[in-house]
């Protein structure tokens, strides 16, 4: 697939010890991140196709929608989860063993319901505010102020779990701080 070529080129360029240790000049470091970002962005198509295929939904109408990565979760920012009232979150486990962990998805409102589309279970959900310091990070352009936190159990090795997350109109009791 053409988009994999970009990854191969990126990995070829970044065999240099500077790319591994970060001892290159600033402009070179910026170019490395540009190359990596471009590869990730152009791989969106192939990632979507793979995930719909693994989950056996490649022929469903849902598979027509492209899956987006959340490359800015490190500043609690994610395009599709902030702007949509209903969205699916696909959790991919890169390890070769089952993993249970906590998923945090940035959102704008403060009441959501989460359902696993793998086994229909509704995991316990907690809404936690994103710290002000994170919201103030220079260059963070978005409006998420909360995070939906829930636990995923036993994500299969090199596999996925799929959740639907939906905003609900319920007046949430503000918990005492």
């Amino acid at each position: 697939d053409k988009s994999l070529e970009h990854f191969r080129e990126a990995m070829g360029v970044m065999q240099h010890h500077d790319a591994v240790t970060g001892t290159e000049k600033q402009l070179v470091a910026n170019d490395y991140s540009r190359i990596l970002y471009k590869s990730m962005d152009q791989a969106g198509e192939i990632i979507s196709k793979a995930i719909w295929k693994w989950s056996g939904m490649e022929n469903s109408t849902a598979a027509s929608s492209k899956l987006f990565t959340c490359l800015q979760l490190n500043i609690s920012s994610c395009e599709f989860s902030e702007k949509s009232d209903t969205f699916i979150a696909v959790v991919y486990n890169p390890l070769s063993r089952p993993v249970s962990t906590y998923i945090r998805v940035p959102v704008q409102e403060n009441s959501y319901i989460v359902q696993s589309l793998t086994d229909g279970v509704y995991p316990t959900v907690q809404i936690v505010p994103i710290p002000e310091a994170v919201q103030k990070i220079p260059g963070r352009k978005n409006n998420a102020i909360n995070e939906v936190v829930f636990r995923t159990l036993d994500i299969p090795p090199l596999g996925i779990l799929v959740y639907s997350i939906e905003k609900i109109q319920e007046n949430v009791v503000e918990q005492p701080q």
Binding site: S81, V90, P94, P131
Partner: protein, 285 residues
């Protein structure tokens, strides 16, 4: 209660000078976490001992790290999935400390930057976990995520060391884990990192890890640029995670297995992808 978070293992609060204290219930083990910073040395780079601190070398100007004036605050959020303590040190250093009912580790989600340099002083920010373990100058760091290497302060196993740089000479690469052991009390303290950092134990019972650096002079090792990364016109902001994990080492095997699992999970966290969908497509999914 509104001023600490706790589970059956730990009780976590903020003490009067703004440091975070972790008390292990039922075990005689305490840790105080605090942030500090080194002033980066600025030399004329004429000879080796006069090099500046920079991309290739860590060279603090003074013999100890400075404390931050605590001008912060903290807020606590408790719920069925996670308990969080949002801890602000000042307007460019903060962290979120989390404990989960099903997990045995404590998660430190730290955020540092933009480091102010209006005073023309390069700064190197560390986090320090000070415990009451008796460690006899010894600590352990992993070697590229594999076996743990024994480190002894101010000592090298293959030659008589005459240490010119008492701080950076004791710093080692921490790719995934740094560990302290109290052999007598059979207690262990691990700090797992989500990326390679410099780390050391400069005092018995202490672990410190370098989080972020902003320096204003090139160290004359070839890159010919100060380590002064910016983004959107301001100093770079870095955000990362440490897992603090430890206690009585009753059964070594489960302890070691749990550590390895946790270190791997931290380094290779699951990916989140997604897409907006309308209600009908949920049904057919």
């Amino acid at each position: 209660s509104a001023n600490f978070i706790s589970n059956e293992l730990y009780n976590i609060s903020v003490n009067t000078n703004g440091d975070l204290t972790v008390h292990w219930n039922k075990q005689n083990m305490d840790v105080v976490q605090s942030f500090h910073y080194y002033i980066g040395a600025e030399g004329n780079n004429k000879n080796f001992l006069n090099r500046s601190s920079g991309a290739y070398i860590f060279r603090p100007k003074e013999l100890s790290a400075r404390n931050f004036a605590y001008s912060g605050s903290y807020k606590i959020y408790k719920g069925p999935v996670v308990q969080e303590l949002h801890h602000t040190i000042n307007d460019w250093v903060s962290q979120v400390v989390r404990i989960y009912p099903e997990e045995k580790h404590i998660e430190f989600d730290w955020l540092v930057g933009p480091i102010p340099v209006k005073d023309k002083i390069g700064k190197e920010i560390i986090t320090r976990y000070s415990s009451n373990l008796k460690t006899d100058k010894t600590f352990y760091t992993d070697s590229n995520g594999r076996e743990m290497l024994k480190r002894i302060r101010n000592y090298r196993s293959t030659w008589n060391l005459d240490l010119k740089e008492p701080i950076s000479g004791n710093y080692y690469p921490v790719t995934s884990k740094i560990t302290l052991k109290d052999k007598k009390k059979q207690l262990k303290l691990n700090v797992l990192v989500d990326r390679a950092q410099g780390g050391s134990s400069l005092k018995d019972g202490d672990v410190e890890l370098m989080l972020h650096r902003r320096l204003l002079k090139d160290d004359a090792f070839g890159v010919d640029e100060a380590l002064n990364e910016t983004a959107f016109g301001e100093g770079l902001v870095v955000r990362g995670t440490h897992y603090l994990f430890g206690g009585k080492v009753k059964n070594m095997d489960t302890f070691v297995l749990k550590e390895k699992e946790l270190a791997l999970k931290l380094a290779l966290h699951p990916w989140i992808l997604g897409a907006p969908i309308n209600f009908s497509s949920i049904e057919n999914i």
